[in-house]
């Protein structure tokens, strides 16, 4: 096979007019992706984007690759069939918090536990956009929307906790205000063998504007984003003055000056037990507190499509290739002359 052709952002942009609201966070995610693709050294024809329904789900139309805009919530299931049938492809799944965690929650957790080779991007804007502003499964308690005039009474999902609980082997979080960080997370997720999920905090400037301002604005990030770096003590703050300790299995934010640097938790994304990663995912239960971003977990487990292919190969080894004539005679037969 010939070398992968050199491509540019333009090669990865389709001829379709992008139709998100002006100012939507989705634009910056799309740009980050179109700029990243040439760096991944993959072929456009071997790349497939599958989506469900929602604003985020329009994503495949704008990528000049293969793509399917399917139905609400079902993209992980459709992508699973495609990835099982065609392990040679790079299959991406794109969806929002309603698509992936509400109507499609079941498919998402099962895709994660199977560890099928999918790169799943969950654009979390904590609101329903395309249906014009109802609360979502990640909206905070008390959220006033068209369908919750007296405030939401639903406990929200923490997508990172859900993914870790679903046995995901790669779990990361990023946000739409930092292209470099997004690209790094997307690249890591893409290179991972198995199901990889990246939660992207994404601003919906029409129905939930500024939901992440307190943590993702440039001047807030140092103090409010806890960057997880493998092998490094977990520290944040303008001068790294705060950190994370694990006390009796629970992650706690501490002042470094008080506890000393040696007791800070050293992040290990490859830890086989997901408990510490889960505990870290619980550090922030709103978007106004210091919130961890980066790779929570990245472990190796056998990829599903590989297991499927190896069972087929093993069956062919023991039984030989399929012989229809023999199959029809595999039950007792008799001859009439």
């Amino acid at each position: 096979m010939s070398a992968v052709p050199v491509t540019t952002k333009k090669d990865w942009s389709s001829d379709q007019e992008v139709r998100w609201c002006p100012g939507c966070g989705d634009y910056s995610i799309l740009t980050a992706m179109q700029l990243l693709m040439p760096e991944l050294e993959v072929r456009r024809e071997d790349t497939v984007f599958i989506s469900g329904i929602g604003c985020a789900a329009r994503f495949p139309y704008y990528m000049n690759s293969y793509g399917m805009h399917s139905i609400h919530g079902r993209s992980p299931a459709i992508a699973t069939g495609l990835a099982m049938a065609r392990p040679d492809l790079d299959v991406w799944v794109v969806g929002g918090d309603g698509d992936m965690l509400s109507i499609g929650g079941n498919h998402l957790i099962h895709a994660l536990r199977r560890n099928i080779n999918l790169t799943i991007l969950l654009f979390n804007n904590q609101i329903y956009g395309l249906t014009k502003g109802q609360y979502s499964p990640t909206s905070e308690v008390g959220k006033v929307t068209k369908s919750t005039p007296m405030g939401s009474i639903d406990q929200p999902f923490n997508p990172i906790s859900v993914a870790l609980g679903a046995e995901a082997t790669f779990v990361a979080r990023t946000h739409d205000m930092d292209r470099g960080h997004m690209q790094e997370m997307f690249r890591r997720a893409h290179d991972h063998q198995g199901s990889a999920i990246v939660e992207v905090f994404q601003n919906c400037n029409v129905f939930n504007d500024g939901a992440f301002n307190a943590i993702t604005k440039k001047d807030a990030r140092d103090a409010m984003l806890i960057n997880l770096t493998h092998g490094e003590p977990v520290r944040f703050g303008v001068d790294g003055e705060r950190g994370v300790m694990i006390v009796d299995g629970t992650a706690k934010i501490v002042d470094v000056a008080e506890v000393g640097i040696d007791v800070l938790h050293v992040h290990d994304e490859t830890a086989p037990d997901p408990s510490v990663a889960f505990s870290i995912s619980r550090l922030a239960d709103d978007r106004e507190s210091p919130t961890p971003v980066g790779v929570f977990r990245s472990v190796q487990r056998r990829e599903y499509g590989e297991s499927v292919s190896s069972q087929i190969a093993a069956a062919q080894d023991t039984k030989g290739p399929g012989d229809l004539h023999g199959l029809l005679r595999s039950l007792p037969t008799w001859d009439v002359s």
Binding site: T47, Y61, A77, L89, N106, V308, G322
Partner: protein, 649 residues
């Protein structure tokens, strides 16, 4: 002693020969022809009934296999409760297996059984009414004790009062004789008891002169490595055999000679196995791998089980998290160039509806298999019905036409599966394949087809650009159409043909999203037209029966057997009648309308309240009348004879 048996090769291939072989280790002086003096009859219908835990399905299945290898034509009807083990001894827990064996071509599991084997009082209570008057009842008398009688609702022991007056009754203490036969084998008493179904099988096999060897071989293979179980089952079978010899039951003995069937190699097959093999055959014919996405549901699960065994054919099977993921994964595989299949029953079709609409819009091949059962809701999971036709036709939002193919007999599921795949691939459309619980589990001898005679399915993936954009550049358009009005199938991985498809309305040709009113009107008509166009290449329907008949019986699905048998009987009795059976429910074969106009009366036996009848009336303005049955059981030929005669008068 000498017995009928059949020589067997290691490959379990059995060639029936009408030869009496000596069994190893027997003495020549013992030779007696076991069938000498045995009354010959054309056919027998036997119904095995017992508790769910009594192994009646297995007993019936073994009797059937032995009869198939003996050369009889046959048809079977397994009937079992939805509960895995309903409370022991109750009417709810009765499991039955009816088999019809014959020396001539038959198409149904029979009307009223001639013989009822009842392993406990509940089985007798539940099924005695099905027996022909004067028929034979074989009972396990050990089970007719106070507790079991009470559970079955008998105040008096029916073996001792006049309940069975007029029947030939054979009572055998099957449990105690089985225990006795096993006592020196080192088998625990409880385990020995469990072999009593083999006692029943041994007795019935003796009464109806079935060869013993296939059953013995089966026992040895099935329980390989469990020597005690093998010994117990063999001992129980032989004890049943010996009971017949010693209890002076010779007067009740009879045999059914092999049937004169067309020359060829035969196997005894049920519908779900035939359907699975048909899918594999279609995959071979098309040269494309098979992908099955499925969620377990009765009575469709056996297709998932069967296909899972054949990964060496490159078959991928996926047990999905739910019905929606099952069809979603199949559609994803189809998008990738595999033959996407999903199997389910009615409740699953209801869940798959939205994805079916997507498949209609995407115009990708997909085969959706509905093994129908009694509904609505959970309904009768283990009983048959054919009431999903309207759902197959219309069970999607919007105008979402889908071809429908129906199987007519267990072995026909093989051909129906190939036809469904052919249409799906050639016309790039989801196809609904309808079978039902009766076909799924019922069996019949099947003359194996010559592989070379199977229909060819020629499919090419798109590899070329096919359009020119407004700036004069060559591009790939996903909705350009061929003569069949099918769009090209460009699978991911194909260089330069990158494109996007989706469920939003699109412009024909370019495939670009379009909300234009005129375009939607055009596309709705086009999707209808392209499915109707399938009829252009369908073979015309052939009518069976009298040229000058007044009555046309129109059938679809599993009613074929009963209709064929009933029409045969009516014609032999002098009634002028004809029948036609529909393989394609949408679109109909091109000559159906013209056919319907030829007859004064059109009747449609259906296991629903008249769904095909409504379609025929709506489409062709004929006064078609339904003959309905919705009891969870298939039609018997006798029922249809009566109903059709009513029309004739």
């Amino acid at each position: 002693m000498i017995a009928w048996w059949v020589p067997l090769s290691a490959a379990r291939r059995v060639r029936f020969q009408k030869t009496v072989y000596l069994r190893e280790g027997t003495h020549v002086t013992d030779i007696v022809d076991r069938t000498e003096g045995v009354r010959e009859v054309e056919r027998i219908i036997i119904r095995f009934a017992g508790d769910s835990g009594d192994g009646m399905q297995l007993t019936g299945d073994r009797f059937t296999s032995a009869s198939a290898l003996f050369g009889n034509d046959l048809a079977t009807l397994p009937e079992f409760p939805a509960e895995i083990r309903a409370p022991a001894g109750t009417l709810a827990g009765v499991s039955a297996f009816q088999v019809h064996i014959s020396d001539h071509d038959i198409t149904t599991p029979g009307d009223a059984p001639n013989v009822l084997v009842a392993m406990n009082p509940a089985a007798l209570k539940a099924d005695l009414h099905t027996l022909e008057s004067g028929g034979t009842v074989i009972v396990n008398s050990d089970a007719f004790e106070e507790r079991n009688l009470a559970k079955a609702g008998y105040e008096h022991n029916p073996l001792e009062d006049n309940t069975l007056d007029g029947y030939t009754v054979i009572t055998a203490p099957m449990t105690s004789l089985t225990k006795e036969a096993c006592k020196d084998l080192g088998v625990k008493t409880r385990d020995a008891e469990r072999s009593k179904n083999f006692f029943a099988l041994g007795l019935v096999s003796w009464l109806y002169s079935r060869p013993e060897e296939p059953t013995m071989l089966w026992i040895q293979e099935k329980f390989k490595g469990r020597d005690l179980v093998i010994a117990a089952n063999e001992a129980a079978y032989r004890a049943g055999n010996a009971f017949g010899e010693t209890a002076e039951l010779s007067a009740s003995r009879m045999t059914v000679r092999p049937a004169q069937l067309p020359a060829g190699t035969y196997t005894n097959i049920n519908g779900n196995t035939a359907l699975s093999w048909g899918l594999i055959a279609a995959s071979q014919q098309a040269g494309l791998p098979l992908f099955l996405g499925s969620y377990p549901i009765t009575p469709a699960s056996d297709i998932l089980h069967e296909l899972s065994k054949h990964k060496n054919f490159g078959v991928r099977t996926f047990q999905a998290e739910d019905e929606i993921a099952a069809i979603g994964s199949a559609l994803g595989a189809s998008y990738g160039g595999h033959i996407g299949i999903t199997t389910t029953s009615g409740p699953g079709i209801a869940l798959k509806g939205e994805t079916l609409g997507l498949a209609v819009s995407l115009e990708l091949p997909l085969v959706v298999i509905d093994i129908q059962r009694g509904g609505p809701s959970t309904g009768l999971p283990t009983k048959t019905e054919a009431a999903d036709l309207m759902m197959a036709m219309y069970g999607r939002h919007g105008e979402a036409p889908m071809p429908i193919v129906a199987a007519s007999s267990p072995s026909d599921c093989f051909d129906a599966a190939i036809e469904a795949v052919r249409i799906a691939l050639e016309y790039r459309t989801p196809v609904m394949l309808l079978s039902d619980g009766y076909l799924a589990n019922g069996t019949e001898p099947w003359k194996l087809p010559d592989i070379g005679s199977l229909p060819s399915i020629d499919i090419e993936f798109a590899s070329e650009l096919n359009g020119v954009d407004s700036e004069g550049r060559e591009v790939y358009w996903p909705y350009v159409r061929n003569d069949n009005l099918a769009r090209p199938w460009a699978i991911p991985g194909t260089e330069a043909l990158m494109h996007r498809i989706g469920g939003i309305e699109k412009q024909d040709g370019t495939g670009n999203i379009s909300y234009d009113p005129a375009n939607h009107e055009f596309m709705v008509h086009l999707r209808e037209e392209r499915i109707l166009k399938i009829a252009d290449k369908l073979p015309p329907l052939e009518v069976m029966g009298d040229d000058d008949a007044d009555i046309l019986v129109v059938g679809w699905g599993s009613t074929w057997g009963a209709i064929t048998s009933a029409v045969g009987r009516l014609r032999r009795g002098g009634t002028k009648v004809a029948s036609v059976h529909l393989r394609h429910l949408y679109p109909f074969a091109p000559n159906l309308g013209e056919l319907l106009q030829r007859y004064d009366h059109v009747v449609v036996p259906e296991m629903n309240l008249g769904q095909l009848t409504k379609l025929l009336r709506a489409e062709f303005l004929v006064d078609a009348k339904a003959i309905s049955k919705v009891s969870g059981q298939p039609f018997t030929a006798a029922e249809l004879v009566t109903k059709i005669q009513e029309v004739a008068q």
